[in-house]
C-alpha cells in the first residue's frame, strides 16, 4: 500500500512542486497521474522512489517510511519498487540485455536464472532482436521499453512509471498499456503511471489523479479524464 500523507515539496529555487498532497493507493491498484507540464508529476515519482525527501509529510510504501531511509538503505528499498524514468536512465556502456540483467545481479541472483528472466522480459517488451544493442543504438521508444523491462525484471510489488508511453506511437502505446495491465493482473503489482496521453486514459479507464501546480485537484475512482 502507498500512503502519501500531507506531502509538500519545494525546490531550492522556490518552486512549490507539491502542496499538501494526500493519497492512498491500495495493493494491486492501477492508477493514472495526469496534469499539465510542470504540475509536479515527476516530483511525485521521485518522492516515491526515494530520490527526493519531502519537506513536510510522510510517504509510506508497504510500511516503509521512504523519507526516513538512511542514504545507504535506499537501494534496498528500491528493489521492491520498479521505476520507469521519464529520461530512461539506461547505463550507456551496457547492452540492452546487460542493462536489464544489472537490476537482477545486484540481488545476487544466479547467472542462469538471470539469463532466463531477462529473456522472458525481453520477449514481453518485444526487444528480443535488440538484446546486444547499446542504448545509443536504439530509438527513444525502444529505450523506453528497455526501461520498462528493467523495472519489471525482478517482479516488484510496486511499479511507478513516469510517462512510459511518452515516446511511443499509438500502436506501441497500446501494447505497453496492455503489458502493464497484464503485469498488474498476473502479479497483482500496484501500478502508478504518469501520462499525458488523454486518449489512453479515456480508453482504458482507471482511477485518475489530477495534479495542478502541485495540488491534487481531482481524484476519480470512477475513472476517465475530467477537466477542472
Amino acid at each position: 500500500m502507498i500512503e502519501i500523507l500531507d506531502v509538500s515539496k519545494a525546490y531550492p529555487n522556490g518552486v512549490h512542486a507539491l502542496n499538501h498532497v494526500k493519497l492512498k493507493i491500495d495493493d494491486g491498484e492501477f492508477v493514472y497521474v495526469i496534469g499539465a507540464t510542470g504540475s509536479g508529476k515527476s516530483t511525485l515519482i521521485k518522492i516515491l522512489n526515494g530520490e527526493i525527501v519531502p519537506d513536510e509529510g510522510l510517504v509510506i510504501v508497504n510500511g516503509t517510511d521512504v523519507g526516513a531511509l538512511k542514504h545507504r538503505k535506499v537501494p534496498y528499498y528500491r528493489r521492491n519498487i520498479g521505476c520507469v524514468f521519464q529520461d530512461y536512465r539506461l547505463l550507456p556502456t551496457l547492452t540492452v540485455f546487460e542493462n536489464i540483467a544489472f537490476a537482477l545481479e545486484v540481488l545476487g541472483m544466479s547467472k542462469k536464472e538471470i539469463r532466463k528472466r531477462v529473456r522472458d522480459v525481453l520477449e514481453l517488451v518485444d526487444l528480443k532482436d535488440k538484446e546486444r544493442c547499446y542504448p545509443n543504438e536504439l530509438s527513444g521508444g525502444q529505450q523506453q521499453r528497455v526501461t520498462i523491462g528493467r523495472a519489471i525484471a525482478n517482479r516488484p510489488q510496486v511499479l511507478i512509471a513516469d510517462e512510459p508511453t511518452g515516446n511511443l506511437d499509438p500502436e506501441k502505446s497500446l501494447e505497453i498499456i496492455k503489458l502493464l495491465e497484464k503485469i498488474n493482473e498476473t502479479f497483482n503489482t500496484t501500478i502508478l503511471m504518469v501520462t499525458h496521453d488523454i486518449v489512453l486514459v479515456e480508453k482504458f479507464k482507471k482511477r485518475t489523479i489530477t495534479l495542478d501546480h502541485g495540488y491534487v485537484v481531482h481524484d476519480s475512482f470512477k475513472g476517465g479524464y475530467k477537466s477542472v
Binding site: P75, C83, F85, E105, V106, G108, K111, R150
Partner: protein
C-alpha cells in the same frame, strides 16, 4: 552465501567491463600514471645515490695520526690509543704498524718504495681515527696533535670538509625534492583517477537507482583503480630494471671514483620498484574509492 559469491563475481565482471568499455579513458589514466611514476623512479634513484655517496664519503673519512719514531713499545702505543679514544668526538681507533704504513705508501706512490721493506723502514707506527661528527674533524685532529708521542695528525683537509658540507646540502635538497615529487605524483594519480570516474558519475547514480548498493557499485571501481595503478607501474619498473642495469654496466659501477660507487642493480630495482608499484596500487585504489564514494552521495 551463494548470493555473496554471485555478487563478488558480478563485481569482478564489472571491473573488467569498466576497463574494456572505457578503454581510452583507462589508457589515458594509465599513461598519466606511467609518466609520474617514471619521474618518481628517476628521482628516487638519484636521491638514494646522493644519500649513499654522502654516507660513503663520511664513513671513509679518517684522521691519520703518525706517532713519534721512538714509540715502539706496546705499552706506549696502548697509552696513546686510550688517550685518543677518550676524546669526545672519537668513534673508533685503528692501529696501523709501520709495515702496514709502508704498504699503504707503496700502494699510493709506487713500487719504488719497496726498497725500504724490512729493517730499513723509515716510517713510524700510526693510527687511523674515525670520528662521530665529521664536521668537528678539524678540532679533533688538533686535540690529537697535542697528545704526547704524536708526531703529526692529518685528515683530508678543508677540501674534504667542504665536500661533506656540500653533500649534506645536496642530500637535504634531494630529500625535499623527492618529498615534493612524491606529493605531486600522488596528486596527479589521484586527480587522473578522479577525472576518469567523474565522467562516469551518471552511471554511478543510475546504478543506485536500480537497486545497486554502495558496496556493489564501489568495488568494481576500486579494482579498476588498483589495476590502472598496476598497469601504470609496469613500464616504469621495466625501464628501471633494464635502464639501471645498463647504466651500471656503462659506468662500471662507479661515478668518477670508487668513493662514488653505485648501488647494486638488484638492490635499487627492488627498492625503487617496490616503492613506485606500491604508490601506483595504493593511490589508484584509494583515489577510486574516494571518488566513487563522493559521487555515490550526489543523489539519494
Amino acid at each position: 552465501m551463494k548470493e555473496k559469491l554471485n555478487l563478488a563475481l558480478y563485481e569482478l565482471k564489472y571491473a573488467f567491463i569498466g576497463i574494456k568499455r572505457h578503454l581510452l579513458l583507462c589508457l589515458s589514466a594509465i599513461s598519466a600514471i606511467t609518466i609520474s611514476l617514471f619521474l618518481m623512479a628517476a628521482f628516487l634513484v638519484v636521491g638514494i645515490h646522493v644519500d649513499h655517496f654522502a654516507t660513503n664519503v663520511q664513513s671513509d673519512l679518517s684522521i691519520h695520526v703518525i706517532l713519534d719514531q721512538d714509540i715502539v713499545e706496546d705499552d706506549q702505543i696502548n697509552a696513546i690509543e686510550e688517550q685518543i679514544q677518550a676524546l669526545s668526538n672519537v668513534d673508533s681507533v685503528e692501529f696501523s704498524d709501520k709495515e702496514n704504513e709502508l704498504e699503504l705508501m707503496i700502494d699510493e706512490k709506487g713500487d719504488a718504495f719497496s726498497i725500504y721493506k724490512g729493517e730499513e723502514n723509515p716510517l713510524s707506527n700510526a693510527f687511523f681515527v674515525y670520528v662521530q661528527n665529521e664536521k668537528q674533524i678539524q678540532n679533533t685532529s688538533k686535540q690529537i696533535e697535542e697528545i704526547e708521542g704524536v708526531s703529526s695528525s692529518a685528515y683530508g683537509g678543508s677540501s674534504v670538509t667542504q665536500l661533506i658540507n656540500l653533500l649534506d646540502m645536496v642530500r637535504k635538497v634531494g630529500y625535499g625534492v623527492i618529498l615534493l615529487l612524491l606529493v605531486l605524483s600522488i596528486y596527479l594519480i589521484f586527480n587522473t583517477i578522479r577525472t576518469t570516474i567523474f565522467s562516469r558519475q551518471e552511471e554511478i547514480i543510475i546504478m543506485r537507482q536500480v537497486g545497486g548498493t554502495n558496496a556493489f557499485i564501489k568495488r568494481p571501481f576500486e579494482v579498476q583503480g588498483v589495476l590502472i595503478g598496476l598497469f601504470g607501474s609496469l613500464l616504469p619498473v621495466a625501464a628501471l630494471y633494464f635502464g639501471y642495469a645498463k647504466l651500471y654496466e656503462v659506468l662500471e659501477g662507479q661515478l668518477f671514483s670508487n668513493l662514488f660507487s653505485l648501488i647494486e642493480p638488484n638492490q635499487i630495482v627492488l627498492q625503487v620498484g617496490l616503492i613506485i608499484t606500491l604508490i601506483g596500487l595504493l593511490i589508484g585504489g584509494f583515489a577510486s574509492f574516494w571518488a566513487v564514494t563522493k559521487y555515490l552521495k550526489v543523489k539519494r
